[in-house]
């Protein structure tokens, strides 16, 4: 009992610098979860499709960038080419998967995205090989090294890369918010998210909107892939980690962008704290399931999430 309820807090209090370090690391991985969840939310809002392939899109985007670089394309150009690949992907997904399945049940669309996941896994491995690749960081202008902060005798290390990741994520979210609020396509997107039929009836082309929204999710995926790849490396294992965006969504609500961000931070910080202070009691490695179990418990009390729309059902 002491080990579970008192000891962890004593540790947090007695080593505050370590505690801050843990919080910071949790925060950084939370930012990445938020970014993946953001990709999910974008597509879910605009088309009602629960895009299971978002995780593999992260890997695929990062891989194509690194792969292009290895072929001799300069760093900045490979980013642009990778964006082009994500656009091609968005276009073909809309053309060959979404359009023929219009009006099908949600669960059918969901399974189609699992099919897409397998295509991307197989295709990615066939083209780029299955082994992990190192992300190119300095070539595309990401900083390395760290800042050291010493509050009252302790020591807390902030990786410059992590700070950059946070800033870029913030900029990306701000950019998306601007895009959604102030541009013509952004407004059309919100209209589609609100009501498909009404949007079509005022002359908004659904097909075009879907390409845009899948492309936006692709951009988010590329940014996430770069950040995540820089922290570890680019491998297909990321795809499993990316599934943690699902509990993030459950926590934040499937339709809410602020929810995705807050949910990501809660999950990121929560799982780090749990792993460091409680994980040792039950054998460690708890990060693989902590987020899902939290989401499971949360679902029982508030199925619509923190910020989601209330689920109303009609017969």
């Amino acid at each position: 009992m002491y080990d579970v309820f008192i000891d962890p807090f004593v540790q947090m209090y007695s080593l505050p610098d370590f505690f801050i370090q843990v919080l910071w690391e949790g925060f950084v991985s939370g930012v990445l979860y938020s970014l993946i969840a953001l990709g999910f939310v974008l597509i879910f809002k605009a088309s009602g499709v629960f895009n299971f392939a978002q995780g593999i899109m992260v890997v695929f985007a990062a891989l194509s960038m690194v792969g292009l670089y290895e072929l001799g394309v300069p760093g900045w150009l490979s980013v642009i080419f990778a964006l082009g690949i994500m656009y091609a992907l968005a276009f073909s997904v809309e053309r060959w998967i979404m359009r023929p399945l219009v009006g099908q049940e949600d669960i059918i669309l969901f399974m189609a995205t699992i099919g897409l996941t397998f295509m991307l896994i197989g295709g990615g491995q066939a083209i780029f090989g299955g082994e992990p690749k190192a992300m190119i960081t300095s070539e595309i202008g990401l900083p390395s090294g760290d800042y050291v902060w010493e509050p009252g005798g302790g020591i807390v290390i902030f990786q410059k890369l992590d700070i950059a990741a946070t800033v870029i994520a913030g900029l990306l979210i701000a950019g998306l918010a601007f895009f959604f609020s102030y541009t013509k396509i952004g407004r059309a997107l919100r209209a589609v998210a609100d009501d498909h039929q009404a949007a079509v009836s005022v002359g908004i082309g659904l097909n075009q909107i879907w390409v845009v929204v899948w492309f936006a999710a692709g951009i988010v995926a590329l940014v996430t892939g770069i950040m995540w790849g820089a922290k570890s490396d680019v491998s297909f294992a990321l795809q499993i980690v990316a599934l943690k965006a699902l509990p993030v969504l459950v926590l934040g609500g499937f339709t809410s962008i602020p929810g995705a961000i807050v949910g990501g931070l809660i999950i990121g910080i929560g799982e780090k704290l749990f792993e460091i202070y409680w994980g040792g009691l039950i054998g460690g490695g708890t990060e693989s399931w902590f987020a899902f179990i939290i989401a499971l418990v949360f679902l029982l009390f508030r199925p619509q999430g923190l910020f989601g729309d209330k689920i109303i059902e009609r017969v």
Partner: protein, 361 residues
């Protein structure tokens, strides 16, 4: 021309309710039975090496058919989508290992069944969230089961008998003096054990589905609120679907490890396998027993065929594996677009066509 029921009259209720009302179907089933009981144990699959055919194709296909049946009950009949199948199979496998360690004298067949019940209990526990949530939310909940159980399989040393390898090491167990598990097992005996499980479990499943439990599953699937309004109890219905489905998965997991693999690590129960089982159900046909057979056979055998073709053409094995991943993904999408009811529906259509053949109408 040959496949038609003209002149075959049903003169009693019992005849009306039989599983195979048409004479041609009965003949077909008898042919399959002869193949299953005589041809396969004696010569395997014609044109393939006997051991390869048994070990790499027939045993896994039969075992995965049980899995697909179980998952089809949950996804196809009760409409509760699950990505935790692999983990539930793991529960069956580890339960069987513990049971046979503590009670080595009890027949392994009884342990297979008991481990199914243990998996059913675990499945019901993780099915509890389905009472409040559905659809994607349930996917997240079942993923929670998948990852949590996977973690437990790897970390709790008691589960794998404190083996140094961290893997299940299957002891030798006999049935009527013939070893059916472990390294010295007799492959024909293994085949008949698996076949018996499959036949009995198919028979049970088809009868559950015809009965009131199966009907209430389908009512919940088609519209849960309406079903509740006309008196179907959602809690009992959903949990029973989870229980039956997990029972099937548990038994097939135990069979998979004890009879087919012989040793298994956590990777045998990981999420990629859960996807594979879901694909079997989708490709075979949601809500169809025969579809579970077709889906399992297709998903298991198709990559093997591709690999062999690749070997013949001189491509390396990993490339062919990736190609088969892509092909399966493409096929999922095509099936969802063109024929959401899967191979089972194609089979029905071709039967319909056979009825009229050679005339167009």
């Amino acid at each position: 021309m040959f496949y038609r029921e003209a002149g075959q009259f049903k003169t009693s209720y019992a005849k009306d309710l039989q599983a195979f009302p048409i004479l041609q179907d009965k003949i077909g089933i008898i042919i399959w039975a002869v193949i299953a009981v005589l041809v396969i144990p004696l010569i395997g699959i014609p044109g393939l090496g006997y051991d390869f055919a048994m070990k790499a194709i027939i045993l896994p296909t039969l075992i995965f058919t049980i899995t697909a049946l179980g998952l089809n009950i949950l996804v196809g009949f009760a409409g509760q989508i699950s990505l935790g199948t692999g983990a539930f199979m793991g529960v069956g496998a580890y339960a069987c290992l513990k049971l046979t360690t503590y009670f080595p004298d009890v027949s392994i067949l009884i342990h297979f069944v008991l481990s199914g019940f243990i998996a059913a209990a675990v499945g019901m526990f993780f099915g509890l969230p389905s009472l409040r949530i559905k659809g994607f939310y349930l996917v997240v909940a079942t993923l929670g089961a998948q990852f949590f159980l996977e973690w437990a399989f790897g970390r709790v040393a008691w589960l794998y008998n404190f083996a140094d390898s961290g893997a299940i090491e299957v002891p030798t167990r006999t049935l009527f003096g013939v070893p059916i598990t472990g390294a010295s097992a007799d492959v024909v005996a293994q085949y008949f054990v698996v076949l018996a499980f499959l036949v009995i479990m198919t028979w049970v499943a088809s009868n559950i589905i015809r009965g009131h439990i199966g009907r209430s599953w389908m009512m919940i699937r088609d519209m849960d609120i309406a079903a509740e309004l006309i008196g179907v109890r959602p809690m009992w219905t959903k949990l029973s679907a989870f229980a039956v489905s997990s029972f099937y998965c548990g038994v097939s997991g135990a069979l998979m490890v004890f009879i087919w693999l012989g040793a298994a690590e956590v990777e045998s129960f990981d999420i990629n396998h859960s996807f594979l089982y879901l694909f079997m159900v989708i490709i075979g046909g949601l809500g169809s027993i025969i579809g579970s057979y077709m889906g399992a056979a297709f998903i298991w055998i198709f990559p093997i065929i591709l690999k062999e073709i690749g070997k013949g053409l001189g491509y390396n094995a990993t490339l062919m594996e990736n190609i088969s991943l892509v092909a399966i993904g493409v096929m999922i999408v095509i099936i969802l677009i063109k024929e959401p009811h899967g191979l089972a529906r194609l089979w029905q259509i071709s039967k319909q066509k056979l009825r009229l053949w050679p005339f167009p109408h």
